[in-house]
């Protein structure tokens, strides 16, 4: 066992964190609205040293054949090597793909976007909603940071004008059809305790993590477990903790 791990786990056993926080405390959360003028909506979220910018772009395209009158949501992630010595250049790998898919499911499954309102001509043309992230610094807990920034960016999104042929990005007026505010909170098992918002150092030593995306009404919209096993009791606790922390985060918006 290395010294760092020993220290982190001893802190948790004593009910606190290596950086002095409590087990259920987030680091300082800062939200900046619309830093990107060229996006239809954007947000920069800092959680401790983690720093991400999410931009929402709107374009038009064909609907999926099985959903002819629904707009299309595309959530991507790249672990940009600018943000951490551990990220390498190249096409997205497991970590980036899981990050994008967990954020995607939170937004999609919570029904937070009224996709019917994004239909232009059924079977032919719908709005495509692109949610992309630029990670500036990876300081741990990327899923929660991306998820919070994605929601904030969607809340900030305004629809550009469309005349049937061309999108006029200089005129962004109409509101974006957002119906819910899903928030992801990742609970980590560190030693035998459950903690939220792991730092980069803590993330290296967690046994397991569970990301719980909750809606405004407290319902769960998406789950994703990573790492090792969890007992049912731990899962119950993790969900309750996520609901509680999700409410706190939502109150920041």
């Amino acid at each position: 066992m290395n010294i760092q791990k020993e220290f982190i786990l001893r802190c948790v056993e004593e009910g606190k964190r290596a950086d002095g926080r409590g087990l259920e405390d987030f680091r300082k959360v800062e939200i900046e609205h619309n830093p990107i003028e060229n996006a239809e909506g954007s947000a920069r979220v800092k959680i401790g040293e983690t720093d991400v910018i999410v931009g929402v772009k709107l374009g038009t395209g064909e609907p999926f054949p099985d959903k002819p009158d629904d707009g299309v949501l595309i959530v991507t992630a790249e672990l940009s090597p600018i943000a951490s010595p551990k990220f390498e250049p190249g096409p997205p790998r497991e970590g980036a793909i899981e990050l994008a898919r967990v954020v995607d499911r939170g937004i999609r499954e919570s029904g937070s976007i009224d996709t019917k309102k994004l239909c232009i001509t059924p079977k032919e043309k719908v709005w495509c909603v692109f949610v992309d992230v630029q990670i500036i610094n990876h300081g741990g807990n990327l899923i929660d940071a991306y998820s919070l920034a994605a929601l904030t960016a969607l809340m900030n999104t305004k629809m550009p004008e469309y005349d049937g042929e061309k999108i006029d990005y200089s005129k962004k007026t109409k509101p974006f059809p957002l119906k819910d505010k899903p928030i992801a909170v990742t609970v980590c098992k560190l030693g035998n305790s459950l903690v939220v918002d792991p730092s980069l150092e803590e993330e290296e030593h967690i046994e397991a993590r569970l990301t719980v995306t909750t809606k405004e009404n407290g319902n769960v919209a998406a789950l994703q477990k990573g790492g090792g096993p969890l007992s049912l009791e731990e899962i119950e606790k993790a969900i309750a903790l996520s609901v509680k922390k999700g409410k706190e985060l939502r109150s920041l918006l």
Partner: protein
């Protein structure tokens, strides 16, 4: 000549440089030039793997230029493009001459440049950021490199084209410049200009680079004062 944003012909857009914005990186910087925003992060020198890519007598300066998908009006598809690959290469060529690469044989110094918002002049903003980020990383350097572009509209030589000027200009000539050595480390051009005009445009660029250089040094001092 009246410019869209009221600038003089030899005036660049408001320039802001912030050093040390990425805690994980060995060196980093953000450059805002008008509405264009570039960030640069430097990692290294570290051993260059796979081994066959190593140079036995010096380090490799590897630059990777990327545009965020939301940085432009029409979304940029993630992943490398022909354009970004070329810009990465000319950026590495622009910066390599001022870095003491011979001090780190078999290593690589990674310079990542990400464009957060694009509004003309992204490669030059990226070079300005990368140059400062390399210095912030404590990598031994002969000089900083400053970069800007200019062109000719009507009869006037115009610095730092933006907005509709990009279409109105007869040419667009970006340069990167090392003021101490008085060497041009990047030079590209699109357009149609007689040789005498090309020289004038380059001279206009050099003058501006000397000013940008001062801002770069001030930003570095700001970061490292105590």
């Amino acid at each position: 000549m009246k410019r869209e944003d009221g600038r003089a012909v030899d005036e660049y857009r408001p320039l802001e440089i912030k050093v040390g914005i990425i805690p994980n990186a060995n060196g980093s910087a953000m450059v805002k030039m008008g509405k264009t925003v570039a960030i640069a992060g430097v990692y290294g020198p570290v051993e260059f793997l796979p081994k066959h890519k190593q140079l036995s007598d010096r380090a490799v300066l590897r630059c990777i230029y990327t545009m965020a998908p939301f940085s432009t009006e029409d979304r940029v598809r993630p992943g490398p493009s022909r354009r970004s690959t070329e810009i990465s290469m000319v950026t590495a060529n622009a910066l390599s001459p001022v870095v003491f690469l011979e001090e780190f044989p078999t290593s690589v110094i990674n310079v990542f440049i990400n464009i957060i918002q694009a509004n003309a002049g992204t490669r030059t903003a990226g070079i300005n950021a990368a140059s400062v980020a390399l210095a912030d990383a404590g990598i031994p350097m002969r000089d900083l490199v400053a970069s800007i572009a200019a062109g000719k509209i009507g009869d006037e030589y115009v610095l730092d084209l933006a907005g509709k000027e990009e279409e109105a200009t007869k040419a667009d000539i970006p340069i990167a410049y090392s003021p101490r050595a008085k060497q041009i480390t990047l030079l590209q051009m699109d357009g149609d200009l007689p040789p005498a005009d090309v020289k004038k445009v380059i001279e206009l660029n050099i003058k501006a680079c000397e000013k940008i250089y001062e801002t770069q040094k001030t930003a570095l001092k700001e970061r490292w004062k105590k």
